[in-house]
């Protein structure tokens, strides 16, 4: 479904991602691990079109998307849940959700998707009229995921969904991720939380200073000594 070939992305001419290749098949849940500064967020932002790559190719469902704008990528179903949630604080929960589905593909299905999202997150149902900025961190994470689902994601890219959440909420969010996966959604999961990701993802890539250090099935990655090394930066 997603193929990334020798991707190089950087800021101001300095490459951050150096020659990263990865694949993700339909219905798969893939983890992207790495310490701070490994390039995880740069990679996800390249996939969503926020940054133009310096070289390399990104293909989605057989289509070359490398030169597409973020808007065009949303139209074909590549949806990002940004790091730090980034809900629209001054707008209500309902407005946030409806705005998630503004792309041409999802627009007409919004009422149906809304029901689906509210069934996944009953908590949001109670908060529909409330300003998003007044929600707790966990509720904002639900809203951010809900907003992405409103866009009728084919590939959902989650950037550190556990960031700043209590352990209970982290468990809840990962339960939701498992459920979305069971419903057939393809998921790219970015996390710092090693054990949690290894438990939920089928395959994992470990990034180290902009390069893929380890890749493979989760239990293989787990036992690979290079994984620990990449994390500790030794």
């Amino acid at each position: 479904m997603l193929e990334v070939d020798h991707l190089v992305t950087g800021y101001g001419g300095v490459p951050v991602l150096q020659d990263v290749s990865l694949t993700l098949s339909a219905g798969e849940i893939v983890g992207l691990l790495g310490a701070n500064n490994a390039g995880k967020t740069t990679l996800i932002n390249s996939l969503s079109g926020m940054y133009a790559p310096m070289s390399g190719r990104i293909r989605f469902e057989g289509q070359d998307v490398t030169a597409m704008t973020p808007k065009q990528r949303v139209e074909i179903g590549i949806i990002q849940v940004p790091e730090g949630r980034l809900v629209f604080p001054e707008m209500s929960v309902r407005e946030n959700l409806l705005l998630g589905g503004i792309n041409a593909r999802a627009r007409t299905h919004r009422p149906r998707q809304m029901d689906h999202v509210l069934e996944l997150f009953p908590r949001l149902q109670e908060r529909l009229g409330q300003k998003a900025g007044t929600l707790s961190g966990g509720e904002q994470q639900m809203l951010a995921i809900g907003r992405a689902l409103m866009a009728e994601a084919k590939l959902l890219m989650l950037d550190e969904p556990s960031l700043g959440l209590s352990p209970l909420f982290v468990q809840y969010i990962f339960g939701i991720i498992d459920r979305l996966h069971a419903e057939g959604l393809s998921i790219l999961l970015i996390e710092q939380n090693l054990n949690l990701t290894l438990r939920h993802a089928q395959r994992c890539y470990v990034l180290e200073r902009g390069k893929v250090a380890v890749e493979g099935a989760s239990d293989v990655v787990k036992d690979d000594p290079r994984t620990r090394r990449a994390y500790l930066g030794l």
Partner: protein
């Protein structure tokens, strides 16, 4: 959401305003009529600015450029080339819109943050001042004097006083209604996503460039038209009033004090502060030099400390507390 706009359009409040507008102005002494007209000018300008500054959260200081183009260019076209001022109004508005689109594009292309955007637009405003001062066609530093207003409608003359009042009233209401329309249309929501978080707006697939340009063009053209009408009322195209950063600072102040990003906020701020400033100057200007500025400044600081989001939200809160039923039926 569109019903909201039609509801506003059909509101009986307009009828009340219309009756007041027909009855009151002839009764007012000319000094007070002048204050009313001035207030309406700033209601219109602050509301026009609100589309960019309030809804999209982009504090543009370049609007003096659009107001100045509307005022100076249309005047110069009439005096130097004999172009009818109605046509001059259209030409100036189109040029202002183009300049607005260019500034929005620069903002998008170079991903200016909020602060850089403010500084860049200030630089554009300053450039405008320098160009007008140095270019004799636009009147240079001494400005241009329009022919006397004889009330010839086809020549963009409205007969001063009462006529100017009606023109400004129409522009002020149009400006406010455009605000209401945009806020209730998809454009208004997209602009607010850009204000709240530009990256998140991109992540949900908002076409940032298109809506930034749209907001800026609408706002710029509106400001330019108001500028043309304003200069016709003033008769004297004074570059130090119309193309100076002072006028835009005032607009930002009125909009902020009234309530940024709300349909009626900037209008509310202008209606309060313009008469306050004028009356303070009229009553105290002769006693101690600068005293009226001092009091004006204290009032503004007090308002901002009391209600950082503007006076309108504060009044709404008071109102809903005093009449809880009215608030819930809304």
């Amino acid at each position: 959401m569109r019903q909201e706009f039609y509801k506003t359009l059909m509101s009986p409040v307009w009828l009340v305003i219309l009756v007041l507008a027909a009855v009151l102005p002839p009764l007012l002494p000319s000094y007070y009529l002048h204050i009313v007209i001035l207030s309406l000018v700033y209601v219109a300008l602050a509301s026009a600015w609100n589309i960019v500054g309030g809804m999209a959260g982009q504090i543009s200081l370049a609007h003096s450029l659009f107001i100045g183009t509307g005022a100076m260019l249309s005047t110069a076209l009439l005096l130097k080339l004999g172009v009818n001022m109605w046509l001059g109004l259209v030409i100036s508005a189109v040029i202002s819109g183009a300049m607005g689109a260019m500034i929005a594009w620069i903002d998008f292309r170079f991903q200016l943050g909020h602060l850089s955007f403010v500084l860049i637009t200030l630089a554009f405003a300053e450039m405008g001042t320098v160009i007008v001062e140095g270019w004799d066609f636009l009147g240079g530093a001494s400005g241009l004097l329009l022919p006397q207003d004889k009330g010839d409608f086809l020549a963009f003359q409205f007969g001063g006083g009462i006529g100017a009042f009606w023109v400004m009233l129409v522009l002020a209401i149009a400006s406010i209604l455009i605000n209401v329309a945009i806020l209730n249309a998809p454009l208004g929501y997209y602009l607010r996503t850009i204000r709240d978080n530009e990256n998140a707006a991109r992540a949900i697939g908002v076409n940032i460039l298109r809506y930034k340009v749209a907001a800026m063009v609408i706002s710029a053209m509106l400001s330019s038209v108001i500028g043309t009408a304003y200069v016709r009322y003033l008769t004297f195209a004074d570059p130090y009033l119309l193309v100076s950063p002072i006028i835009i600072i005032e607009i930002v102040l009125f909009a902020t004090v009234g309530g940024l990003g709300r349909a009626y906020g900037p209008a509310f701020g202008a209606l309060l502060l313009v008469p306050l400033g004028e009356i303070l100057r009229g009553k105290l200007g002769g006693t101690l030099p600068g005293l009226h500025y001092f009091i004006y400044g204290v009032v503004v600081i007090a308002v901002i400390l009391m209600s950082p989001r503007g006076l309108l939200p504060l009044f709404e809160k008071w109102f809903s507390r005093a009449r809880p039923k009215a608030a819930t039926t809304k």
